[in-house]
Amino acid sequence: MRVIGCLPQRSVIWRMSTSRVAEFSIALTRYLDGNGAATGPLPGFAAAPADLLPLYRGMLRTRSFDAKAVALQRTGRLGTFASSLGQEAVGVGAASAMAAEDVLLPSFRDQAAQLWRGVTPLELLLYWGGDERGSDFAGPREDFPICVPVASHVPHAAGVALAMKLRGEARAALCLIGDGATSKGDFYEALNIAGVWRLPLVVVVANNQWAISVPRAAQSAGETLAQKAIAAGVPGEQVDGNDVIAVRDGVARALERARSGGGASLIEALTYRLTDHTTADDARRYRDDAEVTPHWHGEPVARLRQYLVANGVWSREDEEHALAGAAGEIEQAAQAFLATGPQPLSAMFDHLFARLPASLRSQRDAALGGEADNG
């Protein structure tokens, strides 16, 4: 704990002309410890252990999806892919706190949240397989597509939240970013505006301690990332990002505040990236096993499983059954993905404008005409 901004207490005279004008603090919330034991009473949605089963299944499903996607990439059937291994509680916790009519603005590692929101495994595979149709979600029609340029969707999220506020709707926008993203101007500009206008926006930072090879400490000198909220004059807090209950609880409170006119918030979810940055990365270049291994303790799936088992609502058979179910669903999606034929070449042109300008028609025709040539 460090006090910033007050003068060095060199001698008593300094204080005479100096007064404190503002004070702030950042809190951290956790409900389940690393062994899955409750640290105290749980929030309402978690009162009955069985009520947590959907969250658990959501995390398992995500892990199953990630494993399959990595396998597809390794065998040359998917493009570069960013696994969320170890971070499943952030996406599931955040998305499960959302109402269907809220809007999600995800980053590139947010399949956990997207799957919960109803984006299908097939859609995700299409996208990462290099097919734009994967972003034409049949389910959550207003959710944004995955944002690859880091943090550049936070202003969009503020815009979505502004739209909701202008229409007087009790809805909120939820934007997911990483720790690295909190260094970018877009994040800050958008949060600052959301603060001034009290927008129904919740920004959740999945602080997985790394931005590719850059560790958290090299990203910002702040003790927390949650304190970046203070710059924008909005509430900021930390939650244990490997405790799905804490994530859901924190996000639910923030969404509630947002929907009821209380404005924007920032939530930093403390988690850890247990795998490579993407399939194109080799994390051993910049961190060794000794750093990674301890983080397997307290990882979100095992943590919640321990709690569920200890509370008698989950068994080994349940686990096997659930794993098989998830694997089956994902395998089916993978087959559908592999069986999906390419888009027609004209698709490059068909969605550029609502109506294709005359000047582009000849290009489209040339492209179509040259198809054989081009091949």
Binding site: P149, V160, I193, A354
Partner: protein
Amino acid sequence: MADATLVEAIDLALARAMQEDARVLVLGEDVGRDGGVFRATDGLLARFGPGRVLDTPLAEGAIAGLSVGLAAQGFRPVAEIQFMGFAYATIDQMLNHAARLRTRTRGRLSCPMVLRTPCGGGVHAPEHHSESGEACFTNIPGLRIVVPSSPRRGYGLLLAAIRDPDPVLFLEPTRLYRAMREPVSDDGTALPLDQCAILREGGDVALVGWGAVVREMLAAAQQLAEEGVAAEVIDVATLVPLDAASILASVGTTGRCVICHEAPLTAGFGAEIAAQLAGPGLLSLLAPVERVTGWDVVMPLPRLERHDMPSVARIVAAARRSLRHG
């Protein structure tokens, strides 16, 4: 039908669009109480209220990004960037997001926004306030780029831009804001978004340009007429998508073309027009295509700026050079 300056015509078009479509919002720095530093949004706050006219904090990137979010949600944001010199901070948003949202989602989401900004030199403005930076945006597929050359065209083109279902960068020549008045009938009639305007007909040489320099082109045409040369004056107006057909047709008749713009020469948008002439238009060319543009220099501060800007004399000289051929 009242006489209006360009900046009044912009204001009229904004009010008309807001009146006819509740989804239209205006946002930007100082667009509210102040009515915009050029008064392009004068009176809008009083008339439409703070839910439709939003003074933003000072952050151009976020102004563009907010507009993407609003547009995706069904609003029609018209964002003002105070000067083109500060619009470069929006390129990331315009290129990576605004211009792509429809394509990326295969039409599920779209981005009907307008980004307005004053542009160009000649008003002895401070540093960074006299930019002609359109070429930083013209290679962005999915983004329309429009530049009016008069109050009436400003009114009609801005209405069209706001009604268009896709993102439009709308550049307003600062030098024209108060330079002239002309009758503008506020009847809601839009101009087409992919069509050049032939402002003066002539069969000897085509003068092709956009924005403020159209005035010098017209003056040059007048001067050439006095020498017995009939110059056709084409206001490109909608740079992207480009109505190359009209330009090619005109040069098909004249065989000679002088392209004018304030932006620097190299890779200015004039290059695209010249490239069209070198390609599909080649067989009709009787003389090398001339480009009269800003030099490839940093826009000078006011004391030297006129030396960087295309003058009537330079345009006339280029037309004469062109006419000496063939």
